[in-house]
């Protein structure tokens, strides 16, 4: 690399990346800033800072309930989606039943459908069956939308490499369950984890299905939506910032856990 040209190129790369990150972080920065806004109206110019809105939001039972409900629905539905997705992916990859293109298309189909259509369908289905709206229905809907995603991620990771190792394990006397538990799952653990995390993220932030299928116990996005519609103050910003911080902490914790694991085996 010739010094001057290389340096110029480096600057260009850094500048381009910086521009992207500014764009990506712009609303988040404003959001966080105005969560400390001292006025009741979260509009420029900024005044403050104050922690008043955090106290408000943490004292707001609907927000904390919403967070709890969101974690509950997200964790259970993502676990189920990743589990069903894994089983299907494993069956497809290792037993390749005939008609696998059709099966695959059937499993992937919800991915090509708008959440609104899925949510309305479930609303009609459950109301004609006489089921009341509840978080369980939201969880069911979230499994529907996340199952194809989990399936796709996991099936793409179930390659020939693990197949050879699974074959070896079977040869060494492991039952199918033992193969899955002791070889397949540990080997594709990152894919399973990624599928779970992605599913959780989608569930955590999903609005329309949750909006249509809940009444009293609602998830955080629905709480935030009604906060937005029902009062102009920086409490919403504080709630958004808290969500961000929690997510950040979780991401950092997992990142540390993974890198420490790597560190034990140099």
């Amino acid at each position: 690399m010739t010094g001057g040209k290389g340096f110029a190129r480096l600057i260009a790369v850094v500048a381009a990346l910086a521009a992207f990150y500014v764009f990506i972080y712009l609303p988040v920065a404003v959001l966080v800033l105005f969560s400390f806004h001292a006025g009741t109206v979260p509009v420029p110019p900024f005044e403050g800072p104050t922690l008043e809105w955090y106290a408000e939001v943490l004292g707001n039972g609907r927000v904390t309930d919403g967070i709890f409900n969101s974690i509950l629905v997200g964790a259970l539905s993502s676990l189920l989606a990743a589990g069903l997705g894994f089983l299907a992916a494993y069956g497809m990859a290792r037993h390749s039943p005939p008609g696998s293109t059709v099966i695959q298309a059937a499993i992937m189909m919800p991915l090509t459908m708008s959440y609104l259509v899925i949510g309305l369908g479930l609303l009609i289905l459950f109301s004609s069956l006489g089921f009341g709206k509840s978080l369980w229905l939201v969880g069911i809907g979230h499994v529907v939308i996340n199952l194809p995603l989990c399936f796709a991620i996991i099936v793409s990771q179930l390659g020939g490499h693990q197949a050879a190792l699974e074959r070896a394990a079977r040869d060494l006397g492991a039952s199918e369950f033992q193969v899955i538990a002791r070889v397949t799952v540990p080997l594709i653990w990152p894919a399973l984890f990624a599928a779970f995390c992605l599913a959780f993220t989608f569930s955590w932030d999903e609005f329309v299905i949750a909006f249509l299928l809940t009444s009293f116990d609602v998830t955080l996005p629905v709480v935030i939506w009604s906060m937005l519609r029902t009062g102009l103050n920086p409490e919403t910003n504080a709630a958004g910032t808290l969500v961000f911080l929690v997510s950040l902490a979780v991401a950092v914790a997992f990142e540390l856990a993974i890198s420490r694991r790597k560190g034990t085996s140099p």
Binding site: S215, T230, L232
Partner: protein, 359 residues
């Protein structure tokens, strides 16, 4: 040996997570020990400051679901199972319609002190059917014009025609609720909302669509408020004290007026669902909302402020000042109620609104 130092570390996080959520799930399913009632309400009833004292005093938990507009509320009821709901807060002008659908049970007027409610607000014609009270008036306010005094003159805003005056093109926000806005146009055109029929629709429609040409946005309370506060728009059609009272302290240039032609008065009432299985608890909640303390908390609820129906509400002087307590007699006189549509007319008005949104 090495297995246990290396591998389970991968599972540990998941195991912990799974365990926690499983416990959480069990906790969530555990039946709540306290008595619970479900209330379908406007958002001002979702304030913890309003609900907590009641729960503390009676041990009754109140689950609230907020809606905006009677249509939404009725849709929610349609999508529920009988017995799901106990308490209903609804626009006074829709009480009859709701009673016709068999949704409300009569309430015992002995529960509350009627004497402290002004006659215009008491409006027996709205709340009573066949001589029985079905809902009690609890709170009211105005849908008029909120505006930025630095940008537009109060004199202009006092003219109803300013709502569709092309000179304000791009400076107008419209509150996204068909009943008050249509009523407001009707009042602005000199009509009487009580006599509004389907024949009046074409005239309103014309002005409504003229107004849409000026409008920068049609949106819910908060989006409209934000637009007004950020200077995105200067005028909020359908705005009133509920929209700007909370902003005035920081942005004194924001204000609201009733046009000379008159404004529209919103008024909400509280009743008990006919198929509620907890009518006693629901009745206690109604009584609490209409008690002086309940009225004070409701009037200054965080979602929006408004005038308490019960004039004996325990409000401070400062709060009364913010609500323009003293000017109420004149305001009430200068304002009309929402159009009170039949099912058929309501459908027509909603279709009109859908068309308006798509203009």
């Amino acid at each position: 040996m090495t297995t246990f130092t290396a591998i389970p570390a991968r599972y540990r996080a998941l195991a912990l997570f799974t365990g926690t959520t499983a416990i959480a799930a069990v906790l969530a399913m555990a039946p709540a020990s306290a008595e619970e009632i479900n209330a379908l309400v406007w958002c001002d009833h979702t304030d913890d400051a309003l609900l907590e004292p009641f729960t503390k005093a009676t041990g009754i938990e109140v689950n609230v679901k907020d809606y905006e507009g009677t249509g939404t509320a009725l849709t929610l009821v349609d999508q529920s199972q009988p017995g799901d709901w106990d308490v209903f807060v609804v626009d006074s002008t829709d009480v009859k319609r709701v009673v016709d659908r068999g949704l409300l049970a009569p309430v015992d007027p002995g529960l509350i002190d009627m004497s402290a409610i002004p006659d215009a607000v008491k409006a027996e014609d709205l709340h009573m059917v066949d001589g029985k009270w079905y809902a009690f008036p609890e709170k009211f306010g105005y849908n008029a014009i909120a505006y930025n005094r630095d940008k537009v003159s109060e004199a202009d805003m006092r003219k109803a025609a300013s709502m569709w005056d092309p000179k304000f093109k791009g400076e107008v926000a419209i509150y996204d609720y068909y009943l008050p806005i249509i009523s407001q146009i009707a009042v602005g055109l000199g009509m009487n909302t009580a006599d509004f029929t389907a024949d009046d629709i074409p005239a309103v429609r014309e002005k409504l669509f003229e107004m849409k040409k000026n409008a920068k946005l049609v949106s819910d309370v908060v989006t409209s408020q934000t637009a007004l506060a950020t200077g995105e728009v200067d005028i909020l059609v359908g705005g009133g004290e509920y929209a700007v009272a909370s902003l005035m302290a920081e942005q004194p240039e924001l204000d609201w007026v009733l046009p000379a032609e008159g404004g529209v008065r919103w008024q909400q009432a509280i009743g008990v669902f006919a198929d509620s299985e907890k009518k006693d608890a629901a009745g206690k909640f109604v009584a609490y909302i209409l008690s002086p303390e309940g009225q004070a908390r409701l009037a200054t609820s965080s979602c929006y402020w408004g005038m308490p129906a019960n004039m004996s509400a325990a409000l401070t002087d400062a709060e009364k000042k913010s609500l323009r307590w003293d000017e109420q007699p004149a305001f009430i006189k200068g304002s009309q109620r929402y159009i009170s549509p039949s099912e058929d007319l309501d459908t027509k008005l909603q279709d009109l609104w859908t068309e308006f949104l798509q203009q």
